[in-house]
Amino acid sequence: MSLFEEYLSLGFWLSEGERLAIYKYLLRTKRRIYKSEALILLEQRTLKTNIANGEIAYELINGEVGFKAREIGEHNFDRCRRSLKISRFRLMAVYKLVRFFAQAETDVLRNYPILKEQDPERRGYSMNVYPYYDLNYYSRGRGVVIGFLKKIQRKDDVLLERLLASSNFR
C-alpha cells in the first residue's frame, strides 16, 4: 500500500497543511489524467469520477463548472459544492479545470474517506470556503494581494515530499 493510499482513510483527521499537501500531490501526479478528463467534460458537459469513498459529478453549464458529491452507495448527490467560471478558450479552460478537479477530489477525500470502522462522531459535510487555487485561501478572504504574500511565505508540509517520494514521482 502506498503512502497516498493510507491517506485515503484519514480524511476527517488530516491537518490543514496535510490537506493542502494532498491537493498539490494530486495536481502533480494526476495532471495528465485531469487534462484528459477536462477535455471529456468540455466535450460532453458532464463527468463522473470517484476517489476514496466518494463520487463526484461535474456539470458544465453556461461556461461555469460545478460539482456535487456523494458517498459511494448513497442514492442522491447533494447540492452543488463549488463552482468556477471557465474561459471560452480551451487552453485556459483546461488549465482551470485541472485545478478544480484536484480541489474537488481533496474535498471528497476529506468528507468520504475509506473507513476501516464506523466513525463514532456523526459528521456533516465540511470544506474550506476558499479553494486552494484561490489566493483568498491564504488570506482568509482578505484579498488576493495579502493572499499572494502569505502564499510565498508558506512552506510546503513535509507530507508532500513524503507522498512524492513514496510514489516515485519525479
Binding site: 456533516g124 470556503v129 476558499y130 485561501y137
Partner: protein, 168 residues
C-alpha cells in the same frame, strides 16, 4: 353682590380624557406585539465544548492533540455555518495562538438542522504536559431562508488540559 365662580383645583386640560382601562389595554397590546416580534427574530450562538485530549486523533494518525469542538446553534434551520476558529494557550499573562483555522464551512446537522457541529479544530500537544487552552471563533450562519446571521464567541475562561489519553 355676586361671588366669583370658584376655579377647579385640577385644570380641565390635565384631566384624563382617555379612561384608565383603555390606557392599560393599549400598553398590554404593545407588550404582546413586541414579544411576538422578538420571537420571530432569529438568533444564533456559538457553543464551545471543553477542550480535550483527542483519542481519535491518537488512534487514527498517531499524534497527541487537543481538540476543541464548536457548535453553532440557531433558533431556526440553517444551511451551513462559516467559521474561523482560534485555539490559544495562556501562560501567566501571555496568550499564544497555537492554531488559527482557515474559513471552514460546515453543513447543518442532518439530525438537527438548527445546529452545525465543527469537529475538526485541534492543535498538537506535548505528551504529559498541562496547558491552559482558550478558544474563540467568528463567522456567519446562512439560514435556510437565505438570511445571513453573524456569530462570534469565545470561551468564558481558559481550561487546563493534560496531554495524555485517559486510562481505560
Amino acid at each position: 353682590m355676586s361671588l366669583p365662580k370658584p376655579r377647579p383645583l385640577i385644570p380641565i386640560l390635565i384631566k384624563p380624557v382617555v379612561p384608565a382601562w383603555v390606557l392599560i389595554a393599549v400598553i398590554a397590546t404593545q407588550v404582546v406585539i413586541m414579544n411576538v416580534g422578538n420571537r420571530n427574530e432569529t438568533s444564533c450562538e456559538l457553543l464551545f465544548q471543553r477542550p480535550h485530549y483527542s483519542t481519535s486523533l491518537q488512534e487514527k494518525v498517531k499524534i497527541d492533540a487537543v481538540k476543541l469542538n464548536i457548535t453553532s446553534s440557531c433558533t431556526e434551520n440553517q444551511l451551513h455555518t462559516d467559521l474561523v476558529a482560534t485555539i490559544s494557550s495562556i501562560s501567566g499573562s501571555e496568550l499564544k495562538i497555537l492554531n488559527k483555522s482557515g474559513v471552514i464551512r460546515q453543513d447543518a446537522s442532518r439530525e438537527d438542522p438548527t445546529k452545525a457541529h465543527f469537529l475538526e479544530f485541534w492543535t498538537p500537544c506535548k505528551r504529559g504536559g498541562v496547558v491552559n487552552y482558550i478558544g474563540n471563533a467568528y463567522g456567519e450562519v446562512t439560514l435556510r431562508s437565505g438570511k445571513v446571521v453573524p456569530v462570534s464567541n469565545s470561551m468564558d475562561k481558559s481550561l487546563a488540559v493534560l496531554c495524555r489519553p485517559r486510562a481505560k
